[in-house]
Every structure is written in C-alpha cells, then in structure tokens.
Amino acid sequence: MNAVTDTLVLAKRSLLRIRRQPDLLVGFTVQPVMFVLLFVYVFGGAIETPGLEYADFLIPGIIVQSMVFGGFVTALGLADDLKKGLMDRFRSLPMSRSAVLTGRTLADVFSNVVQLVVMIGVGLLVGFSFKTGVLEIVAGILLLLLIGYAFSWVFAFIGLTASSAEAANAFGFTVLFPMTFVSSAFVPVESMPSWLEVVAENNPFTKMVNAARALFLDTPAGNDVWLAVLWSLAIVAVFAPLSAWRYRRAIRR
C-alpha cells in the first residue's frame, strides 16, 4: 500500500528532523518537567487534594497536558513546509495525498513516547507512584498516546491554517493552554467558583485527566475512561478531514 509507505517515509523524515534539531524536543519536554517541579514544590503545599498526595494528583494531569501539546511539533513543521515551498514539492509528487499529514502525526506518537517516559521518570522522582496493576497502567499509557495523537490532528489543522509558525504558536498558547488549566489537571475542580466548576467539569481535558488518574491511581473512574476515548476519537474524526481539506487547498505563503 502506497499510503502506508508514504506515511512511513514522511514519519522518518520528521523524526530525522527531531534528531537534527534536538532543541525542539528538549523545549517541549523541559517545559512540562519545569511545571512538575513548580507545581509540586511551589504550589503543591497550598493545594488541597483530598485522598491523594499532590504529586500523585498532579502527574497524570500534567502528562495529559504534555501529550496535548506534543503535537505542536506538527503545527510548526507544517507551517514551515508551507513557507519553504516543500509542500509544493509534495503536492506535485504522485504520492498519497494524506501522507504528509499522517506521516507527521505518526512521528508525533514516537516523540510523545519519549515525552511520556521522561514525564513518568520525573514523576517517580518527585513522589508519584502507580496504585494500579500492569494492565491498567498499560491501558493508561495507550490512552495518553491516543489523546496525544488526537491533538496532533488539531495542531495539523492549526499549522495549515495559521498564517505563520509564530501565529500557530500564539494560537496554541492563548487558546489551548488556558483550556488545560480550567480542568482537573492541576487543582480539584470543586475548589473553583461554581460557574467555572461547571465549565471545568465538562471540559474534555477533565475527562481525560480523570481517566488517566483512574487508570494510574485507582480513583473512581465513572464513565471518564470511555468518555476520554470517545472525545479523542471524535477529535480525530473532526480534525483529520478538516486538515486534509486545508492541505489540498494549501498555498505557499
């Protein structure tokens, strides 16, 4: 199948690029690590998390956040390809039309695995510990990678739509970043004003974070795991076709 080969060829290209520009990946990994340290040691003492140590509470949340932003590399990469004219080259080749996007998002899965290992490692060092069995932990890791994959498609769309890499960056940090904070990732939603609590409770990030906690810490899951999976699939179902549509119409800037 050409579509599969094309995807792998372009995923390899993205990964080679990360190896050549390791600062890209370091940047996206150092930031969440810094957040872990800030939250655990600076804010942690002031945040009440009934029934859980703050490190246990925080780590699943901050990992979800880092997975969500793992796809940023895709937005920046696609914006760059558009600017440099590489997109023209790809679009003039007799290759699968979707491979430029599927290759990027697949490469994100690999870099998300690296991030996940770093984050769990740092988490264990600051006092996080798993409270569930191997099956749940593996399921949790797969769910986190699925969440990361879903948001790679959001970022693909942003990268193909924003007028530049800088604009993509600004959008990510002014819209998505606050959304990850108005959730159960860093504080219990019950501690928020009641109107905000409603927003946070229904924020898909909250479902995803709660699902990760359930699978890592054995907290009550409710429907959160299934909702997190559904949300991720729904995001792919919406943003993959949107991105493909933008790609077909993409014009060099």
Binding site: K12, R91, R252
Partner: protein, 321 residues
C-alpha cells in the same frame, strides 16, 4: 499515434479576488522541446506553472499536460512531471542524500533504487562530496542544484522549472544552464519560466512573452529579437559635441535611424561584429568627441517597451504567489 503536446492550454484563466493572474492564456509546447515563459515579476508565470503542475486549479479554460487534463487526471500528470523552482524546495534539516532518497521513496521507486538513484544524481550535480551534509549548510547554488536533482529522481519526461536561476550568481547560473542543456540533450522536455531574456534565449526553442496575465507575443528567440530590433550600439557624446553630426555619421552603420536623447545616441544594428570599430572611425572623421561607446543586447525591458509601449513594472503582485 502522434505524440500529444507536452503542454496545451486553451483560454486558461485564474484570478485572485480582483487580480487577474491569467487571462485567456493559450499555450502549446511540443514534446522534446524547451518552452520558455518570459515575463516580469507578477506577470502570471508562476501561476501558470502552478496550474500545469496540479498545485492550483484554474478558474476557467483547460490545460493538458502530457496529454492528461490537469484537473480531472491530476494523478496521471503528477506521475509524468518534475518540478523545480526559485524556492529550492528542499528540507534543510535533512542531508542532500536524505532529501533525494525521500523523494525517490515518494515516487515509489523502492528503497534500493531510491538510494542508488540518489547517489547517481549527487554525482551528476557535483554534490557527491556534500551528500551527507545537512542542506541547511549548502550555498544557494548547491540548493538549486539539489532542487533540480530532486525533480529528476523519477526521470520524468517533462520538467517544469520555475525561474531556475533567479537570485543566483553568474557562475551558478552557468552551471545550472549546462545541467539543463544536458537534460534536454538526453530527451527531457522542459517548460521554464524566467524574467531574463538571455536565459530564455539560451535555453528555449520557443518563447511566450507574458505580461499582466496575457500572452503578448510568441515565437522563437530569433523571431522575437527581430521583432524588437536585435542588438544596438549606445554612444555617449562628450558635453558640447555636435549631436546631429554624430547621428549622420552613425547612420552608415545603423539598421534604421539612430536616435539621439540627452547626448546619448542609440544605433540599431544589423551586424554587431565590426560595429564599434566602424562607428568610432566615422565619428572620428566627423570630428565628434565621444565619452563612451558600448554594444547592448536587447533586454526584457526592451522587449516590453516594444511590445507593450511600457517598461517592465517592478512591483511584486500578490498574483505571483
């Protein structure tokens, strides 16, 4: 079965909002030839190439490339073309070899054939020694050569070159011209856009001159040059020299009447060899003192002045994107 033309368009049109990038363009480039699209920035050359290479859809008219419709049979078109251009679309974060290998894989040549073809092309384009270096460290000329090599990975029978030498120094231009001539000798059909008359003259067998989205002239370089009068001599007189005496002295070497503007005499020539010697001798006999004398080849600006009555406008329209 007669071979279909490499490119054939009828009434091709494209506009961006109010800007008409292409208006009713008819082109025909024969297979096995080099066809040049000559025009200034913003004339619509790049828009034409983007439509012919399936990157952009026309608003009106039809275009067939290698016998296939660029809109309805885009996939068949893409299998038969290579595209290289002024933007040198290569990945800076990969090595030269990795760039070519990736393109080979995307043309579905297979891993082994892609590697072999990449080495061969690096060799052909004098990049073998730098094949493992990151393209980010390449010079402009090297990038352009790599870009051209990438367009050739699958040995396409039809090559589109969008301003292949714009922005290059003279030595790199010559190197690229030689590479293109080599390809043509091996049987590749080339469609190239350029804003340089000398480039079109050297490489193209037929030229279409394009201005503000319209084709305003078409023919062989010779026909076009004859239309605009060929080479000319420019003589700058010393201050106070007798202009009328200079004009009548130079009439003997001119093909047509010399014109005098602000102490500069422009002399259309029939034959450039010996023209300077003859002109200097005649001016000397007439006692006219001159400051400078030079042979000038017609430029794109001359072509435009002749064909449209206006000079090349040097603004970059958005239409060029």
């Amino acid at each position: 079965m007669p071979e279909s033309p490499a490119v054939e368009t009828h009434g091709l049109s494209k506009h961006y909002g109010d800007v008409h990038a292409l208006r009713d363009v008819d082109l025909r480039a024969e297979t096995g030839s080099v066809f040049g699209l000559l025009g200034p920035n913003g004339a619509g050359k790049t828009t034409a190439v983007r439509i012919l290479t399936t990157l952009l859809q026309p608003d009106g008219g039809t275009a067939r490339v290698a016998g296939f419709d660029v809109v309805k049979q885009a996939a068949q078109v893409r299998e038969r073309i290579g595209l290289a251009g002024q933007y040198a679309a290569v990945d800076e974060n990969l090595s030269g070899f990795e760039n070519l290998e990736m393109v080979g894989r995307l043309y579905h040549l297979g891993p082994r054939a892609s590697r072999e073809r990449s080495r061969e092309l690096l060799e052909d384009f004098q990049l073998a020694a730098d094949g493992d270096r990151l393209v980010g460290t390449y010079s402009g000329g090297m990038r352009r050569r790599l870009d051209l090599a990438a367009a050739l990975v699958a040995r396409p029978p039809l090559l589109f070159l969008d301003e292949p030498t714009t922005g290059l120094d003279l030595r790199s231009r010559l190197g690229l011209w030689e590479a293109i001539e080599q390809l043509v000798a091996e049987g590749t059909t080339v469609v190239l856009t350029t804003q340089y008359l000398d480039e079109a003259d050297r490489l193209a067998e037929r030229i279409a001159v394009i201005d503000q989205g319209r084709v305003i002239a078409e023919g062989t370089p010779r026909e076009l040059k004859e239309q605009i009068g060929g080479d000319r001599l420019e003589v700058q007189l010393c201050p106070g020299a007798d202009g009328e005496a200079a004009v009548s002295a130079l009439a003997g070497v001119a093909d047509g009447r010399p014109e005098l503007v602000d102490g500069l005499v422009r002399v259309p020539l029939r034959e450039r060899s010996g023209a300077i010697t003859a002109a200097v001798r005649r001016l000397d006999e007439a006692g006219v003192r001159i400051d400078d004398i030079a042979l000038r080849e017609p430029t794109l600006d001359d072509v435009f002045l002749q064909l449209t009555g206006h000079h090349v406008e040097q603004d970059d329209e958005p239409a060029e994107r």
